[in-house]
């Protein structure tokens, strides 16, 4: 396969392509903005752009996925992004270039470069790339932008150029955040998404409270992510580096001198440092303790022998004890700092995701936003939060993720599954129902993710895409509905099957995907996420109730979804008496059909044959898992021992019902 890639593409083609995929939407935005008020021109132009972009992205991601599924990496030390612009190495493989997977594009330096740490300057870098965690999300963003652009009929009637331009700006921001491997770059793109969203909700929203909703969305998520910024800065500043530390290889020397401070902003480097730093701390503490114990034993021995120079030995023992205490204190301080940073970091991401009870910005924003924008919010933007959890929070604070992840945030996720499902059932507006259903699904995602084993993590990674496709398609259908009747209120609509057969087909299919019927994508990931909760170590901590809550989501999602289907599709035809001006009539048009076909096809294909996608994620999930496993051994050594020595089936602390 290598030779195929090498022959087809010169090294660096993918890097250029990635840059194009990231920044072309900005150019589109500028061009579309020029059309101003001309609706048709803006619509055609942006449709063309989005389709072009989608084709490019499909090509890019397909090649990248084949690459990362077929290449085995020697170690799991860090994420292995490929197609990194500015990668200095001139390796054999086209995508990576070198095996270093890092960039040399500095945005600005912070402090002086340390000559002892070559090629890792303390600089904020333009470090973007594709790996298993983000490449599918980038494709998802491109698909959803295409769908949003195609389905913005009613929403973009006024000031069409501005609307489409903001949508493209949003795409660049989201893609940038997905692709970033530098914490500051990530944060900048992460916050950049707020601006287009703010204008899209506030300017083109459908409800009376759109400005209020836009402001609430903006402030609420910003409030959360400011904590994350604090956390990021803290992580960067408390992250030490090793004077001989390369990006790969084990750090063995426990007496290795360390340099604190902003040494790197690269997520890869930070993960590597965090992982090894903790090992070194533990190693030092263990060594010092062993030495102290040895000294104490010596003293005891001498005392029994009534040796004359007892006091000298006593002094040595005291020194060793002091050293041991110092080393332990250093380790404990590290843990304490990591704890605070964990909660600060996670704040922004759980708000963005959102996790119950930090979700209250969501109903207002989702309801007031133009439906295609709601689609983007739910399908793509929410994934920023979960990707942040996966890429930053868990690998950078693994001990806290092991200790508090499942008991606190997993429990919140479980509560969210049930609670949001009940809320969803209570809604009269399909859009709000879908909004709460998103909360419910993402609760499951977070719950499964914090199981922190390969099933849960892979399930979470894929569920981001799957939920994006199914929730996106749901909102896309609602946009179609809104274009026809100007409302998505279930009390005003009913029996639409008899009028829109194709629409009904798609709605049923997507609803099936949403409830996780086998053969659709969500089934795979729900099984993985629930399965993750059944791995033994997770049980040592919180018990089976989380798994039961997760499984109850299977029923509850069906409950509200099928009630919605009954109200909207079944029964006698019921439509609002007053239809909006310029409303479409009839079944799906060709453009809508194409737009809906993409995510629907995605749902089915990922449900029937997900293995290639799963394979492309394997390495990067293994990276997280490695970091987490080390943390797990630290947090609960006995459990780790048990798991190591005994076959899982005979695991003793099983069910006691």
């Amino acid at each position: 396969m290598d030779s195929l890639y090498d022959n087809l593409f010169a090294p660096g083609t993918l890097r250029v392509l990635l840059m194009v995929v990231m920044f072309a939407p900005l150019g589109f935005a500028a061009l579309v903005a020029l059309t101003g008020e001309r609706f048709r021109a803006a619509r055609r132009l942006s449709g063309l752009f989005a389709a072009l972009h989608l084709m490019l992205t499909i090509f890019l991601v397909a090649v990248a996925a084949m690459y990362s599924a077929s290449h085995t990496h020697a170690s799991n030390d860090t994420f292995c992004p490929i197609a990194v612009p500015g990668d200095s190495g001139e390796g054999t493989a086209i995508a990576g270039g070198s095996q270093e997977h890092r960039t040399s594009w500095n945005l600005f330096m912070v402090g002086k470069p340390d000559p002892k740490v070559p090629s890792v300057p303390p600089a904020v870098q333009f470090f973007v790339g594709l790996d298993g965690l983000n490449m599918w999300l980038i494709l998802l963003a491109s698909i959803m932008t295409y769908v949003a652009v195609s389905l913005s009929w009613h929403s973009a009637r006024e000031k069409a150029g501005g609307y489409y331009a903001w949508v493209f700006v949003l795409q660049t921001a989201v893609t940038g955040a997905f692709a970033s491997f530098d914490v500051i770059l990530f944060y900048v793109f992460f916050e950049l998404t707020l601006i287009p969203t703010f204008f899209l909700i506030g300017g083109w929203g459908v409800g009376g409270g759109k400005r209020d909703a836009a402001r609430k969305f903006f402030l609420y998520t910003l409030f959360g992510s400011l904590f994350s910024l604090i956390g990021l800065i803290g992580i960067v500043y408390t992250n030490p580096t090793f004077s001989s530390g390369q990006l790969s290889g084990e750090v063995k020397d426990l007496q290795m001198p360390l340099r604190r401070g902003p040494v790197s902003f690269s997520i890869n480097q930070l993960i590597f440092n965090t992982y090894n730093w903790r090992q070194v701390l533990d190693g030092r503490a263990a060594l010092a303790q062993a030495s102290a114990e040895q000294r104490a034993a010596e003293v005891e021995q001498k005392r029994q022998q009534n040796a004359a120079d007892l006091s000298a030995f006593q002094k040595l023992a005291d020194e060793a004890l002091l050293q041991s205490k110092t080393a332990a204190a250093e380790r404990d301080r590290h843990s304490a700092v990591q704890g605070w940073l964990f909660f600060a970091l996670i704040a922004g991401f759980v708000v963005k995701t959102p996790l119950v009870p930090f979700h209250t910005w969501l109903p207002a924003a989702y309801a007031e936003a133009p439906t295609p924008v709601t689609m983007l919010l739910s399908a793509v933007l929410a994934k920023l939060g979960t990707l942040g959890l996966l890429r930053i929070v868990i690998p950078l604070c693994p001990d806290m993720a092991v200790q508090y992840g499942l008991p606190v945030f997993g429990t919140l996720g479980a509560i969210g599954i049930v609670y949001a499902a009940f809320c969803a059932f209570n809604q009269k507006d399909v859009k709000l129902m879908a909004a709460y259903s998103s909360v419910s699904h993402l609760g499951l995602l977070v719950l499964g993710m914090f199981a922190l084993n390969s099933e849960g993590l892979t399930g979470a990674t894929l569920h981001m895409v799957n939920h994006g496709l199914s929730a996106g398609a749901t909102f896309a259908l609602l946009a179609v509905l809104h274009d026809r009747y100007g409302t998505t209120d279930m009390t005003q609509l009913g029996g639409l099957w008899s009028r829109h057969t194709k629409f009904a087909f798609f709605l049923i299919l997507i609803s099936l995907a949403a409830v996780g019927l086998p053969g659709t994508n969500n089934f795979i990931t729900e099984m993985l996420l629930i399965g993750g909760l059944f791995k033994p170590w997770a049980f040592g901590t919180v018990g089976y109730w989380l798994a039961i809550a997760a499984a109850s989501g299977i029923l509850l999602s069906a409950w509200y979804t099928f009630t919605m289907l009954r109200n909207v599709l079944f029964g006698n035809l019921k439509i609002p008496t007053a239809l909006p001006d310029g409303a479409k009539t009839g079944d799906l048009t060709g453009r809508e059909l194409w737009a809906l076909l993409l995510p629907t096809l995605g749902c089915v294909v990922l449900g029937v044959y997900p293995q290639p996608v799963l394979d492309s994620m394997r390495h990067d999930v293994a990276t997280i898992e490695k970091v987490v496993n080390a943390a797990r051994m630290r947090v609960n050594p006995t459990l780790a021992e048990l798991e190591k020595t005994q076959p899982p089936a005979d695991e003793p602390d099983g069910v006691h019902h």
């Binding site: 209250t360 209570n426 390969s454 019927l517 099984m527 299977i554 079944f570």
Partner: protein
């Protein structure tokens, strides 16, 4: 990849064919050729039936264990969760596969005539094809997750077909109810599968998992928990006691659908599941007795409700629930006598029941077709002259259902009763329960005979009455509908006797399945009892015959003249209770649906409260603003004063600090 001409290869072709038929039917609909949509379905079902029948007959007669396995690649694999697309073929799945495709073929033929001219003709056959595919997948998959795929697939098709008349609100409600209630059971099943996966060394293939668990059994309470959770799924799908309520409502679908899905095939998936996992159940006698008791209670309650229904299809629906209860009673005996006897009895009843219940439903469909879609027995009667073929076949079906001696229903029911009797008189710790259930089963058998013939007499005897909805066109159905009836009637008449009591072919064939072998071993290991063989018990057969004849006799006595029926005053409350379905729906409405909906609206309100909490934070800057606003009073001197005071404070601090 297996050899396509090997038994497993042929079976997989048979499994896939209905999917092809479904796609072709859908394409017919899309290509504006809806009138041809039945052709792909009928042809592929028939081909699948012929292939599976061929495989069955080529494999029949041997003595060796019968088990073929195939893996067609990976569905998904992550970490310890490895889900291959794995199939297996043993006697159990082969019998199921043949039954399903065989019955489906005739029902498809019947439907082609019955549904002619309907708007959703192509949709009907596409979904039906999908259903048969999912059912075949369910019975042949060797992997729990693949089984769940088939399981949910049949549920989906059931949903789509019950809600086939989508403009009918009652159909929409029934479809949703069917889906949700079965899914409630599925939650339990999925949890059970995961627990099994955990205890079973992270195998998800059924055979490997069963091997692992039978060789390294986990604690008894753990295995009981897993079995009961699996049974939850079966309870939902097979309409057992807490969750049976969806099945009578599911009669809103077209009648052939009721015949295929809600009588012959899908509802028996639960029985199949328990048979398939019999080795696990064999490890847990507690789970077995629970199965038996649930089955007994269901059979009794459903039979009781069926006594006073006026809707012909509902009578049949409750009788289906009741007969499924019989099957579970039989399955549960595996904890007290050998699992192979129990499973054989249950599967045998499943097999015969598929014939006569499909026949009865199709017969009622024929009646309904003639009566202009009226199914209320009070509105018609005395149809035996008008619809002779239907009458004859319906009579055969009723006799079979009632357990009339020597008909197929008699033999299979007799096996279950014998099993229960043996269990009740055996050495099991639960033999008291088993014996009670045996008595219940006898009572139910009596009630079954009675209500079946009540329906038969009310429909076909008495003076001839035709509802005005029939527009005077009431007539015997076309041959496309009557030929399937006749064929199924032959099956109902003779197949029971042919396959088992005469030849013992069925039992021997089923015994070749490694599942039963494993189950017997596990049973032996768990209970330390020897594994017996099925023996014809003359006493039980006699009692069963007497009860059946008594039921038929009472019904003939009361309803020979046809309706309207006269109820003795003493029995009126009982009659009303039965007619109102024992108020189970109302009880559920008050205890499950209402609390859930209240919880939903409560959650909605609580969400508002949460939102208010979040908004509370936004009041902090507002409050500060309100406090500080009066300072901006527009007087320049006031501002200057503030400046000077601030400066004074600042200077004080500076001076005092530097003074130190």
């Amino acid at each position: 990849m297996p050899d396509p001409l090997s038994p497993i290869g042929l079976s997989l072709i048979a499994v896939t064919l209905p999917l092809l038929g479904s796609v072709l039917s859908a394409l017919c609909g899309a290509a504006r050729l809806p009138r041809l949509a039945h052709m792909p379905a009928v042809l592929t079902f028939a081909a699948a039936g012929v292939i599976s029948g061929y495989v069955l007959f080529t494999l029949a007669g041997g003595k060796d264990p019968l088990s073929y396995k195939a893996e067609l690649g990976t569905w998904f694999t992550v970490g310890d969760m490895k889900v291959p697309v794995a199939f297996h073929l043993d006697s159990l799945s082969l019998i199921m596969l043949s039954t399903v495709t065989f019955i489906a073929t005739f029902i498809a033929v019947f439907s082609a005539s019955y549904m002619k001219g309907d708007d959703g003709f192509a949709r009907y056959f596409a979904v039906m094809g999908l259903f048969v595919f999912a059912m075949c997948l369910l019975v042949t998959s060797n992997n729990f997750f693949l089984l769940v795929a088939g399981w949910e697939g049949v549920g989906l098709c059931s949903y789509l077909l019950v809600g086939y008349y989508y403009t009918k609100p009652s159909a929409a409600a029934a479809a949703r109810k069917a889906f949700l209630v079965t899914r409630l059971g599925d939650v339990g099943m999925i949890l059970g599968i995961f627990w099994l996966w955990k205890f079973g060394g992270y195998h998800s293939n059924i055979d490997q998992l069963v091997d692992h668990i039978t060789h390294q059994p986990p604690a008894a309470d753990q295995i009981t928990l897993c079995c009961l959770l699996l049974f939850c799924g079966a309870v939902g799908k097979s309409a057992q006691l807490p969750l049976y309520v969806w099945l009578p409502d599911a009669m809103e679908g077209p009648t052939p659908v009721s015949a295929l899905i809600h009588a012959a095939t899908m509802v028996t998936a639960g029985v199949y599941l328990l048979a398939r996992t019999a080795p696990l159940f064999a490890l847990s006698p507690t789970a077995q007795i629970v199965v038996t008791i649930v089955g007994g209670l269901t059979a009794l309650l459903a039979a009781f409700i069926a006594l006073a229904q006026y809707d012909l299809k509902r009578v049949l629906a409750y009788s289906t629930v009741s007969q499924l209860g019989f099957m579970f009673m039989g399955l549960g005996c595996g904890g007290a006598i050998a699992p192979n006897i129990a499973v054989t009895a249950a599967i045998f009843h499943l097999f015969t029941h598929a014939f006569f219940k499909a026949l009865l439903f199709l017969g009622s469909g024929s009646v309904m077709h003639a009566m202009g879609n009226v199914i209320d027995m009070r509105k018609f009667g005395g149809l035996r002259k008008l619809m002779p073929v239907t009458h004859a076949t319906f009579l055969i079906g009723s006799l079979a259902l009632a357990g009339f001696p020597l008909l197929s229903g008699f033999w299979s029911k007799d096996q279950i009763l014998t099993a229960l009797h043996d269990a009740g008189t055996g050495r099991s710790v639960f033999h008291g329960y088993y014996y009670t259930v045996y008595l219940v089963a006898c009572l139910t058998a009596l009630m079954t005979a009675f209500y079946t013939f009540r329906a038969y007499f009310l429909t076909f005897w008495g003076e001839e009455r035709v509802p005005h909805e029939a527009h005077g066109h009431a007539h015997e159905s076309s041959p496309a509908m009557t030929i399937p009836l006749v064929i199924l009637a032959v099956g109902a008449l003779a197949i029971g006797a042919v396959v088992d009591p005469l030849t013992h072919w069925f039992g021997h064939f089923l015994e070749r399945s490694p599942v039963l072998h494993h189950a017997d071993e596990a049973f032996h290991k768990t209970t330390n009892m020897s594994v017996g063989h099925h023996a014809f018990n003359v006493t039980v057969a006699a009692i069963s015959s007497v009860l059946s004849l008594a039921g038929i006799g009472i019904a003939a006595m009361l309803y020979r003249k046809g309706g309207p029926e006269k109820v003795p005053t003493v029995l009126k409350p009982v009659f009303a209770l039965s007619q109102n379905k024992a108020y189970v729906d109302e009880v559920y409405g008050a205890t499950v649906v209402l609390p859930a909906e209240t919880a939903a609206s409560g959650s909605g309100q609580f969400d508002g409260f949460l939102d208010a909490l979040a908004r509370l934070i936004s009041f902090i800057p507002r409050f500060l603003g309100a406090v500080l606003r009066p300072l901006q009073n527009g007087l320049v001197q006031f501002y200057a004063l503030g400046m000077v005071l601030g400066l004074a404070v600042f200077l004080t601090v500076v001076v005092l600090r530097s003074g130190r």
